[in-house]
């Protein structure tokens, strides 16, 4: 029963993830007084890519072809360890939230290699930047999780959910995690999802050589990853208080709450993106330094017992 729930959760999450991207885009366009693309545009894109022919450069190796599978696979695997609707149903005993970061790192590693593989200038640049930024992001994410985990002395999400409750350290940790989320979902001020033209782009640069089915997989993986980050943030800020066995009504309530969290998250992210300008790469260090600082601060506050 537990595992069927888990599978159901994963399926729903993967399916809903592009909707979140579409919604954020909609929010941003609404704030800019534009109509914008319809909500379902990310789905249309994926369907369109799936129908298209895939062209792979002759100079590439197997890594280029394997990367989309690794990225999508690792992202979906990460989904199993994350409390999306509910804290109590994750692949208990197999790993914890740190596993999620490991799986992300795996995906990132392959994507970066793939970006280099085609030998184009953009891909390499994107890869190097991605690794540069991730070296700042990962410590923050880990310290943040450590703060939340310390409430129950476990990084396993089911165990973490049993020690919920608002505390000051948790709030500050959430602030740090929010900045990490902005960086990891390639949003302004770190990256810009909306353009392929800027020299400053990061994530899109690595995908530049992809087409067809592979591109569809990478897009799906990116939006799923975004959903995972959002639900992690939601879990830290506003934990779901159900534990133990879950009835059907509880499940529906949990899903509704999850939807609400995502909407709020999308609104906040949209507002932030509109309010800020893209930073130069070396200013990003300041930004992520701020995030790191908050994670450390959360740790300090935690050590004081608040």
């Amino acid at each position: 029963m537990q595992y069927s729930w888990l599978l159901f959760q994963a399926l729903v999450a993967v399916f809903c993830a592009p909707l979140l991207s579409g919604f954020i885009r909609k929010v941003k366009n609404a704030l800019r007084m534009r109509r914008g693309a319809p909500l379902g545009q990310p789905y249309r894109n994926i369907v369109k890519y799936l129908a298209k022919e895939e062209i792979v450069s002759e100079t590439t190796s197997w890594i280029f072809r394997a990367a989309p599978f690794v990225v999508l696979g690792s992202t979906i695997a990460a989904l199993m360890f994350v409390p999306v609707f509910s804290f109590s149903f994750s692949a208990a005993g197999m790993g914890d939230v740190l596993t999620v970061f490991f799986l992300f790192a795996l995906g990132r590693f392959f994507l970066a290699l793939a970006g280099l593989d085609a030998g184009s200038a953009f891909g390499g640049m994107g890869s190097s930047r991605e690794m540069f930024i991730s070296s700042f992001v990962e410590p923050v994410a880990i310290v943040t999780v450590a703060v939340v985990a310390a409430h129950g002395w476990s990084a396993e999400s089911g165990e973490m959910s049993r020690h919920i409750g608002t505390s000051f350290s948790r709030m500050v940790a959430a602030a740090a995690l929010f900045m990490v989320v902005l960086a990891e979902t390639s949003r302004i001020p770190v990256d810009n999802q909306e353009t392929h033209l800027e020299l400053t782009m990061i994530h899109e640069a690595m995908l530049l050589e992809y087409s067809g089915r592979s591109l569809a997989m990478l897009e799906a993986a990116a939006s799923t990853k975004q959903l995972i980050w959002f639900s992690l943030l939601g879990g830290v800020l506003w934990p779901w208080p159900f534990g133990g066995a879950m009835t059907l009504t509880d499940g529906i309530a949990a899903m509704a709450l999850f939807g609400l969290k995502m909407i709020v998250g999308a609104l906040v992210v949209g507002l932030t993106e509109i309010g800020l300008a893209k930073m130069r790469l070396f200013r990003v260090v300041d930004f992520l330094g701020l995030a790191f600082l908050f994670s450390v601060l959360a740790l300090v506050i935690l050590s004081l017992g608040y």
Binding site: T166, F168, M171, A175, F287, G289, L293, V300, Y306
Partner: protein, 212 residues
């Protein structure tokens, strides 16, 4: 929960001020911080249903969120000065110092505060941090404007302390203080204008005519 959320927001914005490189960013940041301060006060007013606190919150919104930032940004536009703030200490170092400031604030607060209530402790730490960071901005940024903003930030911190602890100080004191802050911003603004006119810059560290 809500109070904690707003407090964290204020803390984030306060730290974000240290990362600002440009004058408009600093002013906008101050505006947002004041907005959060307004929300804290409003939250208190709604929970305790006190009419006077509503008035204070409204005054806060008017003075600190609308009037002062608009006045300052208009002034900056008018004197057409270089937009960069001029940092004596780069953002990362500033942030690390700010971390120590917060640590110091929490040590200070746990020294004399007996309460174990999270919200009260957080309010104390955040407001003292805000005061210290305001002072930090005054010292480690070159432009006269950053001194004005730093002063206002310090005042925000104290206001936060007062409003989280007890829904603000006695009514008329609160009003008088709001008025005073407004006048202070206007007068320092006028002096900044004069400095620009007399010296053709507003960099405080270059005001060295008087010594000894």
């Amino acid at each position: 929960m809500m109070t904690l959320f707003f407090l964290t927001g204020i803390l984030v914005l306060t730290y974000a001020m240290l990362v600002c490189h440009r004058i408009p960013a600093l002013i906008q940041n101050f505006r947002l911080q004041s907005l959060f301060l307004f929300l804290v006060t409003l939250d208190f007013a709604v929970r305790h249903r006190e009419a006077k606190v509503f008035v204070v919150a409204g005054l806060l919104l008017l003075v600190k969120v609308i009037l002062i930032p608009s006045f300052l940004s208009r002034l900056v536009k008018k004197i057409k000065v270089d937009e960069r703030l001029g940092l004596f200490l780069n953002p990362l170092l500033s942030l690390i110092s700010a971390l120590f400031l917060t640590w110091g604030a929490s040590v200070f607060c746990s020294w004399f505060l007996y309460t174990r209530q999270t919200a009260v402790f957080a309010a104390f730490v955040v407001s003292i941090t805000v005061v210290l960071v305001g002072f930090f901005i005054m010292v480690f940024r070159m432009k006269a404007l950053s001194q004005i903003v730093g002063l206002l930030v310090m005042e925000n911190g104290i206001f936060l302390l007062a409003s989280v602890m007890a829904g603000g100080m006695p009514f008329f004191v609160e009003i008088a203080i709001a008025f005073d802050v407004f006048v202070c911003a206007i007068i320092t603004g006028i002096f900044m204008y004069r400095i620009n006119k007399v010296f053709t810059h507003i960099e405080v560290h270059r005001l060295t005519d008087l010594k000894g």
